[in-house]
C-alpha cells in the first residue's frame, strides 16, 4: 500500500518535463495516475523518479482548430466527457470517456494518460483508432505526429520512446455522425471483456460511412475494417448490420481469461458490434 521511495518532479512546461526524462534513466511519467498509482502501491513498479505532468497547464484543455478537435493530453476524462465541442464533433469520445472507471477516476485520469498507458482493455484506445485520431508526440527533436493505428504496439507499449511525451490528440470532426460505445463487463467497475466503439454517417436510411473499433480483442486496439467496409451502402437495418457485424472478429486473436475464452470474445465482438452500430445509427 506504500509505494517505494522516489524522487518527485512536477515540471510546469513540456520542455522541462522532457529535460527531466532525458536526465533520468528510470523515470515514470505520472499523467493523472489512475493506472500508475495502483502499480506503485502494489510495488509492481518502483521507479527512481516520477515526473508528474499535472502542473503543465499547456497540456490541458480542448480546442477546435477548424479541421480537428485538439485534446490536450492532460485533460481529465470528466472534462472530455462534458465538453460540448466533443459532444458535437466526436460524440463517440464523449460516450467512451463517460464509461471510464468511475467518477473519481474520471476526475483525475487524463485522456493522454490513458492512451499512453495502452491497456488493451481500456476504453479510449479503440475509440481513437476508430476515429483515425492523430497522436502528437513531443521529444528532444521536436514534435512528430503518428496515426492512432500506429501508436499502439502491444500490451502497455506504444511508439513513445522513453524521452518522449504524448502532448495532444487531434481528432478529425465527425459532425453529424451517430455514435455508440458498447461496453460489456460483468460488473460496472470492471474492465470490459470486450467493448465496441462505433460511429456511422447516415445518408437517408443508408450507411454512408462507418468506423468501428474493438477493445480487448487483442494486444492492441483493433479497427474492424471488414465490418466498416461491409456496412457502407447498406441500410441501417438489423439484418444488414447483423451480416456486416458477423465479420467483427476477422483477423483478431483475443485473449482467454477468467471472463471468457477467445471463442466467446469473438462471438461477443460480433454481437456487440451489431448492437453498437445499430445504436449509432439510431436503430438500436
Amino acid at each position: 500500500m506504500i509505494p517505494a521511495a522516489f524522487d518527485y518532479y512536477a515540471p510546469t512546461s513540456v520542455d522541462e518535463a522532457l529535460a527531466l526524462l532525458r536526465e533520468h534513466d528510470d523515470a515514470k511519467v505520472l499523467a493523472g495516475g489512475q493506472s500508475l498509482m495502483p502499480v506503485l502501491r502494489l510495488r509492481l513498479a518502483a521507479p527512481e523518479v516520477i515526473v508528474d505532468l499535472g502542473r503543465i497547464e499547456a497540456l490541458r484543455g480542448i480546442r477546435d482548430d477548424g479541421e480537428a478537435l485538439v485534446i490536450g493530453a492532460m485533460t481529465p476524462h470528466s472534462v472530455v466527457q462534458a465538453d460540448p465541442s466533443i459532444a458535437e464533433h466526436a460524440k463517440l469520445i464523449s460516450l467512451a470517456a463517460a464509461a471510464i472507471g468511475d467518477p473519481q477516476v474520471r476526475h483525475r485520469g487524463t485522456f493522454g494518460g490513458s492512451l499512453a498507458h495502452a491497456d488493451p482493455a481500456a476504453d479510449l484506445p479503440a475509440v481513437v483508432v476508430a476515429l483515425d485520431a492523430e497522436m502528437v508526440i513531443q521529444g528532444p527533436d521536436g514534435r512528430r505526429t503518428v496515426g492512432a493505428a500506429d501508436f499502439f504496439e502491444g500490451v502497455f507499449t506504444t511508439t513513445l520512446s522513453e524521452d518522449e511525451l504524448l502532448v495532444e490528440i487531434r481528432v478529425p470532426k465527425y459532425t453529424g455522425w451517430g455514435a455508440h460505445y458498447e461496453k460489456f463487463s460483468r460488473v460496472a467497475q470492471q474492465w470490459p471483456i470486450v467493448a465496441v466503439a462505433a460511429a456511422v454517417r447516415l445518408d437517408g436510411g443508408t450507411i454512408a460511412e462507418a468506423r468501428v473499433g474493438l477493445s480487448n480483442m487483442g494486444s492492441i486496439p483493433i479497427r474492424a475494417t471488414a465490418v466498416e467496409q461491409a456496412l457502407v451502402g447498406q441500410p441501417a437495418t438489423a439484418e444488414a448490420v447483423r451480416a456486416a457485424a458477423a465479420r467483427a472478429a476477422d483477423g483478431t486473436s483475443p485473449p482467454t481469461d477468467l471472463n471468457g475464452d477467445a471463442e466467446y470474445r469473438r462471438h461477443l465482438a460480433s454481437v456487440l458490434t451489431r448492437r453498437a452500430v445499430l445504436s449509432a445509427a439510431g436503430a438500436g
Partner: protein, 794 residues
C-alpha cells in the same frame, strides 16, 4: 403454543434510527488502524508466493540493516514462542489436523502464509525492509483441486498421510429420526423419480470493507490489544492459551469494526505475531493488512462439492435425500472450519417433510487459504442444494416449482415439527410468507410474460427463481454445540449498571460490527426498564468492560445476547423491588412496576427507577442488609435454535446472445419472528440478499495451477457495486419464535442463505427450455453462454 409476551408499547418494534450513526457519518470513528500510541512500531509481513514449499533459507541481513528496522523475525526465531493456532471444532474424535504455526517454520502450506515479520519505526520503512528479505524455497507438489485432494493424489501435509481430516455422517435411520435413504432411492428407481446432481459451492472471500488491523500495547502491567475482530472474548482467551500470557493480564478491545460476515470470527496469525512483536520489543506494535493481503490470507468461505440424490414419487412427493459432501478446509483448521459443513448438515431437508435423509461429509485439506465461517456458514450450501433440487424435481414432474414445494413443506398447523435431521422447528408459516411474496412479485403475470418470450424466441429470456428457505439461528444451546464437537458454549452474558443519575449502562457480551446492537439493545432495555431510549448506553467489545461474552456470529446476537439483556433488566427490577418497598413503606406485593416507576397499588405513592438509583447510591435510607447497588448480571443459555424462514422470488433476464444475467425484480418475504427494529431488519435483509446474489453471479476465489490466488484484488474479486444490483422489495410475516421470550429469530444470515438459490433458479428457469439444467456458480455471462451452446447441441 406460543409463550410470547405482549408487545411492549414504546420502543420495541419502533423503526429507531441508529445511535451508532452519529460517529460513523461524521468520521469520529475508532477503527483499530486509527490507534496511535507513543513509540509505536509497525509490522510488515513477508508472505510465501508458493502454495506448498520448503523454506531452504531466509536472508534477513539486508532487511535488518534497512532504515528504521527494529527487528526481523522468522519462523526459526519464533518456533517455540509462537505456540500453535487453535481449532475449536472437532468434527469427529478421529479428526486429523496439522500443526498450525502463525509463521511458517520450515514449510509453507498455502500462498500468502507468513514467512517473516519486519518490525520498524514506520509502516513505510517496514514495507521497504520486507522487500529486502530474501527467502529461498524448494517448491513441493501442491494439493489444489478438491476432488483430487480427497483421493489423496497429492498430499497437502505429507506427514498426515492423507488429506482427509474427518468424515462426518448423519443418517436418519441410525438417528431414529427417519427412514433408510438407500431403500427410498431404490424404491424410487422403480417407477418413481430419482434426481442426481452435483453442485459446486465455489470458494468465496468474506471481503469485509475494513481490512484487519491489530495494535498490541505491552505498556504497563497489562497487555492491551485492539483488534478488528468479531470475537474479542475469543481473542483474549486464545492469546492466553497460545502465548502463555495469563488471561487476567490481557485486555482485548474490538473498537469500531468494519464488517466481518464471519471473516473476522477467527484468532489469527497476525494477532499472534503482533503480540509477540510487542512483547519482544516492549513497544506498542501495529499491523494493518492491505486489501491484497486480506483477500489472500484472511480465511475464505464455502468451497464444497455436493453430490445429491433425491428420491420422489411420480407426483413429486419426496421420499428421501442423500448428500455426499466434500468440504475444502484449505491448509489448516481455523476456529470453526471443521464445523461449517456440520452447521449445514441439519438443514438439507429445508422446510420439507423428507422421510429419509443421509449426509456424509469429508473434510479435506488442500494447499489453499483455510476456509471458515462466512455469512450463513454451511446453511447457504444446504439451502442451495435443496432449493435447486426442488426446481429440478418440479421440472421433472412438470409442475410449477411452487407447487412442488407446497406438496412437500411442513404445514403451518403441523408445528412444532421435528425434522428428518432431528431439528425441532418451533414455529413457521410457509404458506403465509409464500402467498405474500407471490402477491408482491406479480408471480402469475411474470409467468405469462415468460411464456410469451419463450414462444416468440425473444433473445432475452425471463426466468423466475424461487427459494423457500429456513435456517437455524441463534448459535446455540451449549449442550448441542458440545455434542457436535465444538469446544465452546453458546450462552451469552449481559450486565446492567444503574447509574446514580438514573442513566443506564448496558454491557453486552455480543460484539457488533455493523449490526446496530447499541440501538436495538437500547430499545429492549428502554421498554423493560421504562426509561428513555436516550438514557441507555450500550457498551461492548472491550473485555475490561464486557468481561464475559461469546461475541457475534451465527445470527445469535439478538436471540441470545438480546435475551440476556432482557434477563438482566428483569433482575434490576427484581433487585429494586424490595428496596422500593422499604423506602415507600409498602408491602412488596403491593408494588407494580410500570413506566419506569414502582407504584403502590391503589395509591398515588411511588418512586421512579432513577430516584431509586440515587437513593441506592446514597445508601442513607436503605436497610443495613440491603445491597447498595441495583446492578445486575445475567447469563442466558438458550433452550434451542430459532428457525427464521421466508420466500424469496427472483425474476432474472438472460441475454441469450451474450449470456448476461440481469435481475429484474427481487421480492423477499422473511419471517424472523418478532422484530425489535424494522429498519435494522430491513437493512440486514438487503445486505444479506446482496451477498447471496454475489455468490450466484459475481464472486469466486480463483487460484491458478500453481496455487496463487488470481482474484487477489478488488479488480478481480468482484464485489457488486450499486449499478450491479437491483432494488429489493422486502416484506415480512411475523410468526413469533416460541423458544425465547422476545419471540425473535435472527436475521443476519437469512438474506444470504435465501437469495443464492433464488437467483440461480431464475437463471436456469430462463433457459431450461433451451436445454440448460444447470449453470455453475458464479453464473458469469461466459458460463451462461457456454451452457447455452451445450444446450443447443443436446
Amino acid at each position: 403454543m406460543t409463550t410470547t409476551q405482549e408487545r411492549p408499547a414504546a420502543e420495541v418494534g419502533n423503526p429507531r434510527r441508529r445511535k451508532e450513526d452519529a460517529r460513523l457519518i461524521t468520521g469520529r470513528t475508532r477503527w483499530t488502524d486509527n490507534v496511535v500510541l507513543p513509540g509505536m512500531l509497525h509490522l510488515a509481513m513477508v508472505r510465501s508466493p508458493f502454495a506448498h514449499a520448503r523454506i531452504t533459507g531466509i536472508d534477513t541481513e539486508a532487511a535488518r540493516s534497512s532504515s528504521g528496522v527494529v527487528a526481523v523475525l522468522t519462523g526459526a526465531d519464533l518456533a517455540e514462542e509462537q505456540g500453535g493456532l487453535p481449532f475449536a471444532w472437532t468434527a469427529t474424535p478421529e479428526q486429523k489436523a496439522p500443526a498450525h504455526p502463525s509463521i511458517a517454520v520450515d514449510t509453507v502450506n498455502f500462498a500468502a502464509e507468513i514467512v517473516a515479520v519486519v518490525v520498524a519505526r514506520s509502516a513505510a520503512e517496514a514495507n521497504d525492509a520486507a522487500d529486502l528479505v530474501d527467502v529461498d524455497y524448494e517448491e513441493l507438489p501442491a494439493a489444489l483441486d478438491l476432488k483430487a485432494a480427497a483421493a489423496d493424489e497429492v498430499l497437502a501435509h505429507p506427514d498426515l498421510g492423507t488429506n482427509v481430516s474427518a468424515r462426518f455422517n448423519f443418517d436418519s435411520a441410525e438417528a431414529g429420526t427417519g427412514g433408510d435413504v438407500d431403500a427410498a432411492i431404490a424404491a424410487a428407481r422403480d417407477g418413481g423419480i430419482v434426481i442426481e446432481r452435483e453442485y459446486r459451492q465455489q470458494r468465496l472471500i468474506p471481503a469485509f470493507m475494513e481490512p484487519r488491523s491489530i495494535v498490541a500495547d505491552p505498556t504497563g502491567e497489562q497487555l492491551t490489544v485492539w483488534s478488528s475482530t468479531q470475537v474479542p472474548h475469543f481473542v483474549k482467551i486464545f492469546i492466553a492459551l497460545v502465548l502463555g500470557i495469563p488471561e487476567h493480564k490481557i485486555r482485548v478491545i474490538a473498537p469500531d469494526v468494519g464488517g466481518g460476515f464471519g471473516g473476522k470470527l477467527q484468532f489469527t496469525p497476525e494477532e499472534v505475531l503482533t503480540v509477540i512483536a510487542a512483547r519482544r520489543t516492549g513497544k506498542p506494535c501495529k499491523y494493518s493488512e492491505t486489501r491484497s493481503e486480506s483477500l489472500q490470507a484472511a480465511h475464505h468461505g464455502r468451497d464444497q462439492w455436493q453430490k445429491l440424490t433425491l428420491a420422489a414419487d411420480r407426483d413429486g412427493t419426496v421420499r428421501g435425500l442423500k448428500v455426499e459432501l466434500l468440504a475444502n478446509m484449505g491448509a489448516y483448521l481455523g476456529l470453526v472450519s471443521a464445523g461449517i459443513p456440520i452447521l449445514g448438515a441439519f438443514m438439507y431437508n429445508g422446510i420439507y417433510k423428507f422421510p429419509a435423509y443421509r449426509l456424509t461429509c469429508t473434510n479435506v485439506f488442500t494447499n489453499k487459504t483455510w476456509t471458515d465461517a462466512y455469512r450463513g456458514a454451511g446453511r447457504p450450501e444446504a439451502t442451495f442444494a435443496v432449493e435447486r433440487l426442488m426446481d429440478e424435481l418440479a421440472a421433472e414432474v412438470g409442475v410449477d416449482p411452487l407447487e412442488i414445494r407446497e406438496r412437500n413443506w411442513i404445514k403451518h398447523e403441523e408445528f412444532p415439527f421435528t425434522t428428518v435431521s432431528g431439528m425441532h422447528y418451533d414455529s413457521g408459516n410457509y404458506e403465509a410468507a409464500t402467498a405474500k411474496a407471490k402477491g408482491l412479485f406479480g408471480y402469475d403475470d411474470l409467468r405469462a410474460e415468460q411464456q410469451r418470450r419463450r414462444e416468440s424466441g425473444d433473445p432475452v429470456q425471463l426466468g423466475i427463481g424461487i427459494s423457500t428457505y429456513t435456517e437455524m439461528c441463534g448459535l446455540a444451546p451449549s449442550r448441542w454445540l458440545g455434542s457436535m464437537g465444538y469446544v465452546g458454549g453458546g450462552w451469552e452474558h449481559a450486565s446492567i449498571r444503574m447509574l446514580p443519575t438514573g442513566k443506564v449502562e448496558v454491557i453486552t457480551g455480543t460484539s457488533p460490527h455493523g449490526q446496530g446492537h447499541e440501538t436495538a439493545w437500547s430499545q429492549i432495555v428502554a421498554d423493560r426498564l421504562g426509561v428513555p431510549f436516550e438514557d441507555v448506553e450500550v457498551l461492548h467489545g472491550d473485555t475490561q468492560v464486557s468481561a464475559r461474552g461469546l461475541d457475534t456470529y451465527g445470527s445469535r446476537s439478538l436471540a441470545i445476547g438480546g435475551m440476556a439483556v432482557l434477563a438482566a433488566a428483569d433482575k434490576v427490577i427484581e433487585k429494586a423491588k424490595p428496596i422500593a418497598a422499604q423506602l415507600l413503606e409498602a408491602n412488596a406485593d403491593d408494588l407494580e412496576y410500570t413506566g419506569g416507576r414502582f407504584g403502590v397499588r391503589g395509591t398515588e405513592a411511588g418512586m421512579s427507577l432513577a430516584e431509586l438509583a440515587f437513593a441506592v447510591f446514597q445508601g442513607h435510607k436503605l436497610d443495613g442488609g440491603a445491597e447498595r447497588s441495583l446492578d445486575a448480571d445475567a447469563t442466558l443459555e438458550p433452550d434451542d435454535f430459532s428457525f427464521p424462514h421466508g420466500t424469496h422470488l427472483c425474476a432474472a433476464e438472460v441475454d441469450t446472445e451474450t449470456g448476461a444475467v440481469t435481475i429484474r425484480s427481487y421480492v423477499s418475504v422473511d419471517d424472523v419472528g418478532n422484530v425489535i427494529n424494522p429498519v435494522i431488519v430491513e437493512g440486514q435483509v438487503h445486505g444479506g440478499v446482496a451477498q447471496g446474489i454475489g455468490q450466484a453471479l459475481f464472486e469466486e476465489a480463483v487460484h491458478d495451477e500453481s496455487g496463487t490466488l488470481v482474484t487477489g484484488s478488488f479488480d478481480a474479486y468482484l464485489v457488486a457495486a450499486a449499478p450491479d444490483l437491483p432494488s429489493f422489495v422486502t416484506a415480512r410475516t411475523e410468526t413469533p419464535a416460541t423458544t425465547n421470550q422476545l419471540g425473535v429469530k435472527g436475521v443476519g444470515e437469512a438474506g444470504t442463505i435465501a437469495s443464492t438459490p433464488a437467483v440461480v433458479n431464475a437463471v436456469v428457469d430462463a433457459v431450461r427450455h433451451l436445454g440448460v439444467s444447470d449453470v455453475e456458480m458464479p453464473c458469469t455471462p461466459y458460463r451462461v453462454w457456454k451452457a447455452l451452446q451445450e444446450g443447443a447441441k443436446s
